[in-house]
């Protein structure tokens, strides 16, 4: 579904992404793990068009989207839950969700998706008139995910959805991700929480300072000694 080939990204003189290639097949959960500053967020932002690449190609279902705008990529079915949630804090929960469907015009289908999001995250339905900035961290993460789902994505890119959440909530978020995937959405997941990410991922890529150093199925990487040492705490 998504194919990244020989991607290079720079921030000024900083060479942040050094020729990586990543493939995500339809229906999969693929995770990208690695230490701080490895370049995971940058990769994801390049996929959704928020960051320009220096060289390389990105295709979606065989179509070249390397130079497409962020808006076009949303229209084509890529949705991005950015690192740190980035909700619209003075707007209400409902307004945030409506903005998720900003590019859509099919009112009745939007209403269906809205009730689908409320069903998945009942807390959002309870808080729909509340200013989003007053939600707890976990609720904000759910709102950010709900907002991304409102564009009815084929590929959902998640950047550290478990960041700063209590263990119980992390489990809940990962259950939801798995469920979203089972309902037909392909997922590209960036995580620091390697053990959780590897458990639900079909395949995984390990990133270090801008390069992919290891790749395999989630189960394979869980057994790898290098991974155990570096990311799973022994």
């Amino acid at each position: 579904m998504l194919e990244i080939t020989d991607l290079n990204v720079h921030f000024g003189v900083i060479h942040a992404i050094k020729g990586i290639s990543i493939k995500v097949n339809e229906g999969e959960i693929v995770t990208l793990i690695g230490a701080n500053g490895a370049g995971k967020t940058t990769t994801l932002r390049t996929v959704s068009g928020l960051k320009k690449l220096s060289s390389g190609t990105i295709t979606l279902n065989g179509m070249d989207i390397t130079h497409s705008s962020a808006q076009d990529r949303v229209k084509m079915g890529i949705s991005h839950v950015p690192e740190g949630r980035r909700i619209f804090s003075t707007m209400t929960v409902l307004e945030n969700l409506e903005l998720g469907a900003y590019l859509r015009r099919d009112k009745s289908e939007i209403a269906k998706d809205l009730s689908m999001v409320y069903e998945r995250f009942p807390i959002l339905a309870d808080r729909k008139k509340q200013a989003a900035g007053t939600l707890s961290g976990g609720e904000q993460q759910m709102l950010a995910m709900g907002r991304a789902l409102m564009s009815r994505p084929k590929l959902l890119c998640l950047d550290e959805p478990s960041m700063g959440l209590a263990p119980l909530l992390v489990q809940e978020i990962f259950d939801i991700i798995r469920d979203i995937n089972e309902k037909g959405t392909t997922i590209l997941l960036v995580e620091q929480n390697a053990s959780m990410a590897l458990q639900i991922a079909n395949r995984a890529y390990v990133m270090e300072t801008g390069s992919i150093t290891l790749t395999g199925t989630g189960a394979e990487l869980m057994q790898s000694d290098d991974i155990k040492k570096a990311y799973l705490g022994g």
């Binding site: 959704s48 928020l50 705008s69 962020a70 808006q71 949303v74 229209k75 949705s79 991005h80 839950v81 950015p82 980035r86 909700i87 619209f88 804090s89 003075t90 707007m91 307004e95 409506e98 903005l99 998720g100 900003y102 590019l103 907002r147 991304a148 564009s151």
Partner: protein, 323 residues
């Protein structure tokens, strides 16, 4: 829903017509003398300036320090045209030409700077307003530092009201539309706005160009009502004064801008009898009010019937508690 919108629209139209009629009556009967009319005109012009800057800074979150520059483009264009075509038609033509020219300059400054994130716009607009001032200072057609006299006053209460109400209605409607939502989302979080598919550059430029257009109209009104313009009237201080009204009323509140424009004009008019202390007292009042309400008079809320109901129920509850 359709009915609701309709009745709301009717209410607004009646309110506007009543305001216009009442003031017109007071003018005809001489209750509003020329002195009060000057204050009223200043208020209207400041409302146009503040509401249009609020669109850029309060709603879209782009910090602009050059609003007086756009105003001066309107003022000079309109004066130059009315001096050659001294009719009401000439005035309206000049006003529109001035507004369009201001919008064009806005596009030229906004397009390159608004692509970037960050506060580049503040610096660019600061420079722009200064360059415009220096151009007007050196051109023959603008008569340099001495400025220009407009021989005829075309702005009367009718035009004043039409353009002030028009500006407020157009900008409020824009903000309530999905375009306005897009602008506000950029203010809230530009990256998130891009992530949901909003073309942030497009909306930042649109808001900026619209703001410049209306500032141009305000300039034309000013030049035609007060007869006289010179480059120094449109310096940095003027831009700051407009920003003060916006911040004072509340970033992101149209009714806040309107209330602030009225209050500040009344305060500064009432201080005119003590010119030595005028600026000191004005500044002290501003500081005091901002200390107690840092979010401005209205915050980002709008004045509405439901807000009144909320307030009255709050007061009710308080009184009930005490009894």
């Amino acid at each position: 829903m359709q009915k609701l919108l309709g009745s709301n629209f009717l209410k607004k139209a009646i309110f506007l017509a009543a305001t216009f009629g009442l003031v017109q009556l007071l003018i005809v009967t001489g209750v509003i003398n020329p002195f009060i009319m000057d204050t009223l005109t200043t208020i209207c012009i400041n409302i146009i300036l503040a509401v249009s800057l609020n669109l850029i800074t309060g709603f879209t979150g782009q910090f602009s320090l050059g609003h007086a520059g756009f105003m001066s483009i309107g003022a000079y264009t309109c004066t130059i045209i009315t001096l050659r075509v001294p009719t009401t038609l000439g005035f309206i033509t000049g006003l529109l030409a001035g507004a369009i020219l201001a919008a064009l300059v806005g596009a030229v400054v906004g397009l390159p700077t608004l692509r970037l994130r960050g506060d580049y716009l503040a610096i660019a607009t600061l420079g722009m307003a200064e360059i415009i001032r220096i151009i007007f200072l050196n051109l023959d057609i603008t008569n340099g530092a001495a400025g220009l006299f407009n021989n005829n006053q075309y702005v009367n209460w009718f035009w004043l009201f039409l353009f002030t109400a028009g500006t407020v209605v157009l900008i409020s409607n824009f903000i309530k539309s999905s375009h306005g939502r897009a602008c506000i989302s950029i203010r809230e979080d530009e990256i998130a706005a891009e992530a949901v598919g909003i073309n942030s550059t497009k909306y930042k430029v649109t808001a900026f160009v619209m703001g410049a257009f209306f500032a141009g109209i305000a300039g034309s009104m000013h030049s035609s009502y007060f007869y006289f313009i010179k480059p120094d009237l449109f310096g940095f201080l003027k831009s700051i004064n407009i920003l003060v009204i916006v911040v004072f009323g509340g970033l992101g509140s149209i009714s806040g801008s309107i209330i602030a424009a009225i209050l500040l004009a009344l305060i500064s008019t009432s201080l005119q009898s003590i010119p030595e202390l005028q600026m000191v007292i004005y500044a002290a009042m501003l500081i005091t009010i901002m200390l107690f309400r840092p979010q401005g008079l209205m915050g980002s809320k709008e004045l509405s019937l439901s807000l009144f109901k909320k307030w009255s129920s709050l007061i009710h509850r308080k009184n009930g508690g005490e009894a």
